[in-house]
Symmetry: D2
Subunit: 339 residues, 4 copies
């Protein structure tokens, strides 16, 4: 780190997980899933692109869907505190030998200003930006709410073969850790890390990577989560419900995991807790506690551990994947895990 900082300068001041851009092979199907079912508001639309946001979000988008030949993660994006932090991000990653690409305003994602995109040390395509268009305030437009009434993007969950390396990298970016899943010798199976004072902006699931496990979208109350499942049953699309509804042990949030028409996974998530105190302590779950993944002890389905979305490089090509050394799913206790 010290060497790294000396070489690469200080880390950018990351505000929060800001948006994810996904490539989808069926844009119309994706529009039904993300806008009609989940209730995201369509802020921008052209023949190849949809920019979506939650009811409480005041910036241009938090989910971007682009038509493509392969379903993949194009990039995740973090908002930084100042325009200078975009430059800091470029130096920070370049100094670590990571590929970086400067993306001027109007050449990148609609609504986003000057940005830098990097392939981080974990192999993920990540954008850092400060400037983004504001959007009309819809917080009290209850007349426009529908579907799951998603309020905002909450977090990214990524698969990586080396969780300790992911932890160290995000720590070097100033992220703090709210919760972990650990073995008896404290070997790290999973970690939840944050900049905004919620349980997380990003979490790591041990497994083949780099892959995107899911996007976490927040709703205000648990009945909104149930609503998404009910609508899918009504449309005989219940096969898009992969896991839940349930209560997480980690984060204590009430959750539901869905798969979009391309197989991208989304979590509808409500009610975690405040983590903003300077001495907030990491809460550590043992990998053999049945309740870590589902507080009610319900089994986690195999697909949830095994499947995830591939990620693109800076040139938009899908990146190769390496297998994980440590598989949480092999640590079966009772319902959880898949051993």
């Amino acid at each position: 780190m010290t060497t790294g900082e000396h070489r690469a300068g200080p880390a950018p001041d990351v505000v929060r997980a800001a948006y994810a851009q996904l490539t989808v092979t069926d844009l119309a199907g994706a529009r039904w899933f993300w806008a009609d079912l989940l209730g995201l508001h369509v802020q921008y639309e052209d023949g190849d692109t949809l920019c979506l946001r939650g009811t409480d979000e005041l910036t241009h988008h938090s989910v971007v869907l682009r038509r493509g030949d392969v379903a993949a993660l194009d990039h995740i994006a973090y908002r930084v505190r100042t325009p200078e932090d975009v430059d800091r991000a470029e130096r920070f990653f370049a100094g670590r030998g990571c590929p970086t690409l400067r993306v001027p305003a109007r050449e990148g994602t609609p609504g986003v200003g000057d940005a830098v995109r990097v392939v981080d040390p974990l192999g993920f395509p990540v954008e850092f930006f400060h400037d983004i268009e504001r959007a009309e305030r819809l917080i009290q437009r209850f007349d426009l709410r529908h579907g799951a009434e998603v309020s905002r993007l909450d977090h990214f969950n990524i698969c990586t073969p080396d969780v300790p390396a992911a932890y160290a990298h995000y720590a070097s970016l100033g992220f703090r850790c709210s919760e972990t899943i650990e073995g008896d010798a404290h070997e790290l199976y999973a970690a939840w890390m944050y900049r905004k004072p919620t349980v997380h902006d990003v979490a790591f699931t041990s497994g083949a990577g780099p892959r995107l496990h899911h996007l976490g979208l927040a709703t205000h109350e648990s009945h909104h989560v149930l609503r998404a499942a009910d609508v899918l049953g009504a449309l005989h699309q219940e096969h898009r419900i992969e896991r839940g509804p349930g209560r997480h042990g980690v984060s204590n949030a009430f959750y539901l995991y869905l798969r979009d028409p391309d197989g991208h996974r989304v979590e509808i998530y409500t009610s975690d807790y405040y983590t903003g105190d300077p001495d907030h302590e990491t809460y550590r779950w043992n990998v053999r506690d049945d309740r870590r993944r589902d507080f009610w002890g319900n089994a986690v389905v195999a697909s949830w551990y095994k499947e995830a979305s591939p990620v693109c490089g800076l040139d938009g090509t899908v990146q190769p994947v390496s297998d994980g050394a440590l598989e949480e799913s092999s640590a079966r206790v009772g319902a959880d895990g898949l051993g």
Copy 2:
């Protein structure tokens, strides 16, 4: 009663409060209120008529809106157990000297079979029918739900100057009494009476009558009630919220009172209790218990006690109104009442 039965024959076997037909002066405005905001499903529509039903209702309609010059109640309707009960209803009211009118299928309200309409001893236009068209089952069409997601018609609430007379009349029709509001000498201010095993199919509020105080529409959970209020605020139509949300003392239901564009009052109502046991006892509230109308002691607004919809006679003309002898609203205790 015995004499009455001897003269008029037995009472019809009433199943439940079935539907109300209202005249409205602005059918488009009424469609927005009843279908878009309340979430009733449009089962039938022509230039002058809308037939609406809740998500759980399996018969053709529970609310009918007809274009007219004056906003009024055209009639309330009870479903009876057999076709023969329609004949019994005709004899029952004719025997009491009430005007009756036989309405053959296809000459009355769309979807309703052979019926009889009467002006009851309280001056209200009431229809009794058995046959009604079935409608597609929408109970699990969560994809169609919107607005307040009204599930079914629950009850009628009517204003009458003589509550004891109303009580005696409905008792002679086989209705039982779940709750009352009474003075210290047990003088009757209001009563809730039922055939289906809920708190009521009909309730009486002491006041000038005959007038329709409100239609009670049921939802499954309290967040559906809050939703209706939120949407009205969003549309800057908060003036249509007359009273609530609140918890009733009587019935224990969670409620919200709205006024439609013609001023017809509707209650969105959730969660009362089972009353079907043969020895179910009447629960009696003292008129000076603050909690009877709002269990949280919030004040009842004057308009709620004073305003109501006029009712039509069998010829569709608006009927004159007589003042009430006993005004609950003059019995002020703390928040409640208006004295």
Copy 3:
């Protein structure tokens, strides 16, 4: 039937599923589960017996727990409309060659008046009674509510090897059918039958029998159901959560299945629909529709199909069990079934 009626007289007029009496081997553990966790109110207690009721119940009890050497169903009980219906029940079952036992007031279950107990043609111990002590009205004692805040007993679910026979028997008792699960040739896998106008008072699951599959207890809203699961997780008793929370296809209710310390199964259940119209039609699910048991397509665990509580005879001894001819669980489609 006609012959049956001629021989046995008319069926008793059953009002509703009234209570179930279970034997438990650990009364203190059962008290924690049924009173503390589920929130049932303790109406009567002695060293060997607990009488419990829901927040909305106005009679003495709906669940009775008695200390015993073997965990079993002692009997289920239906309330009938008049004292004469108790005599009708005795003749009805005696006429069918069923064992019957008259139980005078104060010799049977606390609070229950003159009753008759029978072993019905399906082999189940069933009591019919009219008189039962009233209990203090707790409907608005929100200060006493805790745990899952169970409001009332809703239904019994029983395992029987011959569902068509169970259907015919309960039809002869005047029960009507709200929903079924059927094969392609309409062979009957399961049926939901009612007297009170809800989806059911009793349901049959095809399997070895006579056994009690579960007691269904109602709550007012879905958050009460989630609460029970959360409390079990908090106490690291998540293994008592067998299935759910979920939405049923059949009944559309939101559900959670728990197992008490003796393994007796209870369903916490909310929000079904009105079935009281005289022409209410049976809704038929195909056994291969994934959504019939869980509207969201979540798998049914094996124990839910395989395990159930034994039942006692009139002498209190546990009865032998016969295997089922038709196993729904062998009709696997996607998530559901276990084939």
Copy 4:
């Protein structure tokens, strides 16, 4: 500000509204209200003091009740980021000519480390501290939850005669402004300001001051808010419900205002929105928009505008009050205001 900074040094880095200490004349009555009814957890208790916290709070307390002769606010307290920020706070207020008092650990409020107390330029007693004892994690102890299940302290609301001066003072402390109520000439009637990224840590209501208007306590869902009102009705304590439940225009939160046995006002509050982006804009309500105080247009009762708790000085004596220049309540539009 520059001058001020030159003289007084930089502002302390405030993390969040941390706790309020109230004097109460009936500690047993206060314990019932704050612990039993609101569901706060008793972390520390002696004959004169109660330290309470919400289900999600990981520090020693967020509400402190001390026995006293007069019901008043002893002090509000903000947590600062580092121990050095306590020194900064002392210099910051001393430099403004405010009385300051250093309170060493173990000499002040139980559980709180080295702190400084000041009388701020608005006349309020305010403590700044960094060190506070950690408390056992109860986030997932659903078995201990009861009453309104308050999760955490959200904000302070204070009455001051000069809202612009309050705005300027808190801006100098680094607070940002989420929402305001303004006249046609943008004269400031009320403002909501924050450090943690919610709608507020502190809000100002124009009126006689310095007085404490209320403490805002957060719950996770709206049914928890309704629960508090239902329990008060059940106990015939409905007179402790002053206003609501309702939806705020400002903040969009669902609210209920209660008065404790000494008349201290508490708001139970759920579901506001994220404000942490660096360019988050202030949302401005016109004082004549009916929906600003209640989004549903329900009237604000007079007591809510007129009554508040007195505040103490550093010596614990109750401070005099000055009248406000600008009374929002005189700006009546429709339901809102009291003109």
